[in-house]
Symmetry: C2
Amino acid sequence: MDTTDTTAAVLGAGTAKPRELVEAALIEFFASRTEQVAELGDRYVTAVRELTEFVLRGGKRVRPAFAWTAWLGAGGDSTSDGAASIVRACSALELVQACALIHDDIIDASVTRRGFPTVHVAFADRHRSANWSGSSERFGESAAILLGDLALCWADDMLRESGIDAAAAARVSPVWSAMRTEVLGGQLLDIEAEAGLDESIDAAMRVNRYKTAAYTVERPLQIGAVLADAAPDLTAAYRSFGTDIGLAFQLRDDLLGVFGDPGVTGKPSGDDIREGKRTVLMAVGMKLADRDSPVSARTLRSTLGTIDLSEDRIADVRSILCDVGAVADVERRIEDLTDRALETLAESATEPGAAAQLRAMAIAATQRTY
Amino acid sequence: MDTTDTTAAVLGAGTAKPRELVEAALIEFFASRTEQVAELGDRYVTAVRELTEFVLRGGKRVRPAFAWTAWLGAGGDSTSDGAASIVRACSALELVQACALIHDDIIDASVTRRGFPTVHVAFADRHRSANWSGSSERFGESAAILLGDLALCWADDMLRESGIDAAAAARVSPVWSAMRTEVLGGQLLDIEAEAGLDESIDAAMRVNRYKTAAYTVERPLQIGAVLADAAPDLTAAYRSFGTDIGLAFQLRDDLLGVFGDPGVTGKPSGDDIREGKRTVLMAVGMKLADRDSPVSARTLRSTLGTIDLSEDRIADVRSILCDVGAVADVERRIEDLTDRALETLAESATEPGAAAQLRAMAIAATQRTY
């Protein structure tokens, strides 16, 4: 396949979903690196293939889809000459996300992702089967650190080479920069909260705000808005909508991390408990249990962060979180946030077609089962 | 101190060395992030302070100095209006380097850097003293992965916000991009060669080419050249000079890794042997020993990568490398590369003042004892 202008071709067909546009742009971008990577030899080609497959293998493309839809909602025209450049710029978010996932999987010592071995596990396996010297685990983590770095560098390259004009690039720059500084801060706060046992709902909400809401919805929407040179009112509405939906999205994730069906989520249920994640769900659970049921509170605290938990003990945690009212509380928060977000959107100047899309995406993100 | 325009002020004084210019630009850049970081709370401020101190604590600022001097050598005027922007753009290289060092130190499990604990060790120590839960080592590595990522993101921000004009930014973009893709490739090849026991001189030279020569000298010089919109001939001369000096620089590093005085280099001597680094020095040593002294060859192979080596066994390796002629061979390579580089420089159209500087830097880089 000639990939030099995949994005424009897929866009020109006029029927592609955001996800397909993003994947076309990613394929086009990876193809643009082929020559340079090959210059360093076959081993690099093989390693980069692992990254490429990881990125193209799946994912919901949530961030680029929000950015692209926000651009349309701010008057962007998908049939215009510059539209392919916008798709490319939005899709660069997916490479930031590739780095976040690859490095997060090292940090969380996760072994699978999207039904495949995580990158560090795949490289450790390769080391082991080749009977190389040294620790396979360390080799796997080292390679994954470097490939995550590469994804982060390529995210910038993809944005810079997207073809957007200098004025648009200047408008995106501070948002892109803030988003990355925030998400890395959110991740740092997350591991510190986990290690330092900060139990407060505030601490968990702050992590959600920066690690998820800003990074996944608010900033991508803002990127779409500034790419379209949207009016300040619309940008502000997007950001408010994005923060609310982003927080609700994360709260849904918290619930799925404990109650999700592994067959649907692709992750073992209860992993959040084993890993000791300081979620809002757990923070609310502990606060309510402290008030109403000290025995349950002790169970929650002794369970959280215990790697070796039986299904029965996970089931106990689930019961407690329901019984003390934590699940109902979190569901109510999701509902309130979503309601407010949808109201903000409805009152905004978003183009009707895109507004309907954003509405559907918001509902999908906050009411999903996966 | 008001840091909003530190770079221009230091530059305006007219007496600053490249290193001082770079540090002024870095201080100015870090100050520009203060507000955004503070928004995420004290914990992030503390973590970022660790990164800031790490970057400002020292280092030779080799890469920015090469880029800046190349710009001067291609006709750049340090008293011109745009000069402060050039300093900032060149100094962004130091943040790429901060990421490379922080992540490399995780990969190599190094405990000290520039006489201080490495970033991952510092964070592990903090975790330990605070009596936080979970593994201190894992916490330290996780925090260091994230702070390295932040440095990498900020490198881009610093370049993008440097103030260079759009045409200069467009000229720098492909060089900046190639440099990062190359250095990460070089690092990947390096850990693969180490793990896979690739003993060839070619493999070691290829790693040196991309991990060091391109990244440390060739590409920084090219960045300076394209910032000045230099003629193609001069850019080509810089690149040839840079590749040769960069390779010679790494070969000197190889020698210092085995023979260096720890009091001067700041690193335990012999660490390259313990870590099993596949250097050109060792590759040449093994090749020559295979030919002339099978017993010595066996000693080299059994020693390389053995963590727990006595000073006596390190001394044996040193003797062998001298006796088989590997040291002389590497010294000759350094001399040949340096001679050729200086000839290229002398024949180039580099401005005389900058040419003298580059010549001095080349000699310092390849004949240093630290």
